[in-house]
């Protein structure tokens, strides 16, 4: 394991009687692309602002490279931020914007010129030095904000929803570029976003935040394949959660649905606790004709909705007792089955127990 760059120990932030961040403890390692993911109001931006020095925690400890910085003001921290709205200085040229941090740390002359040049090259904005921020497009402004922060070679770069203001296509492009830049400069990135797709594609690890704390901290694959709470299961990707009476059967957890059907999942997937559930992602489900035989979990139902999305088709299937399940099927089978399933058709839903996941007792209750 690489060195720890940023460590939060039991960090809490209260605004009046509102608790924005509720006892977060986490370590971010050197060179990691770490993401705080969550809906608005979950405390992710407040957490970032405390690391940046713009807010002071009500209690807890923040360490940067092993040094306690909890109450160190922002301008004395070896951390730089890419702000949500970029916050470029409107009265300064792009060159002076990028050079701002260097000049403040006493770097002069040729070194300023060469380092600003390097930073602008990194974000592919050579030739824009003399422009003012108002003369840039959103994507370019975003790059300048990135260059202005990276030019200082901070220990940690904080990014507060940096792609939020861009349109979808540009966002995807910039996302790929951010990842490239991070690999190139190998600086620790702490990234805040509410967009799970953005988080999944870029991050080494993601902390999924809800109501001031994180519910799960894991790599993108683990978060998707093995979400451990209901919130994570539904916030990261789409999920079918099967709720019912919990039981145990040898190596499997069992959930007896209100309809009487029993579904299983191996105990090795996680602890179901006393109030958990078994879940399964829509693409792990297979639709069969009612008569076809299958192994593993099986539920019967009726197709109630079909939407064709090109690469895949999404179905809503209603089972016994009003249970609704989301199924997505890759559109490769069109050669063998000439048509999609139609609303009203009876189907059987099957999946292998080990393809499901297990969520435990809800933490955010």
């Amino acid at each position: 394991m690489a060195d720890v760059d940023v460590r939060l120990v039991n960090v809490t932030k209260k605004f009046g009687d509102q608790t924005a961040v509720d006892g977060i403890t986490l370590d971010v390692s050197d060179g990691e692309f770490f993401t705080l993911l969550g809906p608005s109001g979950c405390g992710k931006t407040t957490t970032l602002r405390m690391i940046g020095g713009f807010e002071q925690p009500t209690s807890g400890l923040i360490e940067l490279k092993g040094e306690d910085v909890t109450f160190l003001p922002a301008h004395e921290r070896d951390v730089n931020t890419v702000f949500q709205s970029y916050a470029l200085f409107p009265h300064l040229t792009i060159f002076e914007n990028v050079a701002f941090g260097l000049r403040r740390s006493g770097i002069k002359g040729d070194e300023v010129t060469s380092r600003v040049g390097e930073a602008l090259e990194l974000v592919q904005l050579i030739g824009y030095e003399k422009r003012k921020p108002a003369q840039l497009s959103g994507g370019q402004a975003q790059r300048v904000a990135l260059a202005r922060a990276l030019v200082n070679r901070p220990a940690v770069l904080l990014l507060d929803e940096p792609l939020g203001a861009l349109d979808l296509k540009l966002r995807k492009q910039m996302g790929i570029e951010l990842k490239r830049i991070q690999r190139e400069v190998s600086i620790t990135f702490i990234y805040v976003t509410h967009d799970q797709e953005e988080a999944m594609t870029m991050s080494d690890r993601i902390a999924v935040m809800n109501k001031g704390h994180y519910e799960q901290l894991a790599g993108p694959e683990t978060l998707y394949e093995r979400p451990t709470t209901r919130f994570v299961a539904s916030f990261v990707g789409a999920s079918n959660l099967l709720e019912g009476k919990i039981g145990s059967d040898g190596e499997s957890w069992t959930v007896t649905l209100p309809s009487g059907d029993v579904v299983r999942a191996p105990k090795s997937l996680g602890d179901i606790g006393t109030g958990g559930a078994i879940g399964v992602r829509p693409e792990k489900l297979t639709l069969l004709e009612p008569g076809q035989e299958s192994k593993g979990n099986r539920l019967d139902g009726t197709v109630v909705d079909t939407s064709y999305l090109g690469v895949l088709t999404q179905y809503t299937v209603e089972g016994a007792g009003g249970l609704r399940l989301l199924v997505s099927e890759q559109n490769v089978d069109r050669t063998t089955r000439s048509d999609t399933w139609r609303p009203g058709e009876r189907v059987a839903l099957t999946w292998k127990p080990e393809h499901g996941f297990v969520v435990g007792d809800s933490k955010s209750a």
């Binding site: 940046g52 020095g53 713009f54 730089n80 709205s85 916050a87 200085f89 409107p90 740390s105 003012k132």
Partner: protein, 290 residues
């Protein structure tokens, strides 16, 4: 009418400007021409005035005779502008960033004096600053100030009066330009290792310059033409060019000299504004707004 405009969309801006242009022509251009004419008159009210270009000699003569008052006007106006700026900037800063829910109340207090007449306010100060008024009287009676100490009828009183009366014109533009500054820019500066003083110097102050510029003009220009403060709070030694123009026009009926002085005052203000704009740089202004 509307159909006509549709065919000629270029006329619409002209139409919108028309009332303002008419106003300016009727109340500015026409009187200015009349004044120019009057400045080239010779004669007296009794014998009648005659126009001649040769009377242009009135200008150098008036400038020579009243140069003291001219210079005094420039000095008093400049000092008042600086006094206003020094007092208004911290106030505007506090209102914009630190006042919280008292912001509206404080702004109201700044402009509240405007609800009384200008003349009344100056007269009130005359009472307050009076040699035995309730400010100086008690201080003198307990011996803190010598008996002959006075504020009224000194340059201080005139400059004070001017500064007081035009103070809101400095506060409001600075407040507006400060209030417009995105506070995240200051956060960004701090993120880039600027301490509070540097952040103010490099970010807040340059971005507030348009307000400083506007406020300074709004104070300096009327201050240059002021005569009420000098008349009521000053003495013969503090007569300003405004007092000269007023008395030449209304007391001595010396229209040519008064008109020539007015014209030179106007030219002087224009020159001062131009120089000021050059020093502060219009470039800064545009980028601060944009």
């Amino acid at each position: 009418m509307i159909a006509f405009l549709r065919r000629r969309p270029g006329l619409l801006p002209l139409l919108l400007l028309a009332p303002a242009i008419a106003w300016l022509v009727a109340f500015y251009v026409y009187p200015a021409i009349q004044m120019l004419q009057a400045s080239l008159w010779s004669g007296t009210l009794e014998s009648g005035f005659a126009f001649s270009w040769a009377n242009a000699a009135t200008y150098p003569a008036a400038l020579d005779r009243y140069s003291d008052q001219f210079l005094r006007s420039i000095l008093y106006a400049a000092v008042s502008t600086v006094v206003c700026l020094v007092l208004a900037f911290p106030l505007a800063y506090t209102i914009a960033y630190r006042a919280g829910r008292f912001r509206t109340l404080l702004l109201f207090i700044v402009i509240a004096p405007f609800f009384t007449s200008f003349l009344l306010r100056v007269l009130a100060w005359k009472t307050v600053l009076g040699d035995d008024g309730f400010l100086l009287g008690p201080l003198k009676s307990i011996g803190l100030l010598p008996e002959e100490f006075r504020v009224l009828a000194t340059p201080i009183a005139v400059i004070f009066g001017i500064s007081y009366n035009f103070f809101p014109f400095m506060v409001l533009p600075i407040y507006v330009s400060l209030e417009k500054i995105d506070r995240r820019l200051v956060e960004a500066a701090k993120d880039l290792y600027a301490g509070p003083v540097r952040a103010f110097q490099r970010i807040t102050l340059p971005l507030a310059l348009p307000g400083v510029f506007a406020g300074s003009l709004l104070v300096f220009i009327p201050a240059m033409g002021d005569f009420v403060n000098a008349e009521l709070l000053g003495s013969v030694q503090t007569r300003l060019i405004g007092n000269v123009i007023q008395s030449r026009f209304l007391v001595n009926n010396d229209y040519p000299t008064a008109a020539a002085l007015s014209f030179m005052l106007m030219a002087g203000i224009l020159a001062a504004v131009f120089m000021y704009a050059r020093v502060l740089g219009t470039d800064e202004l545009e980028s601060g707004i944009g």
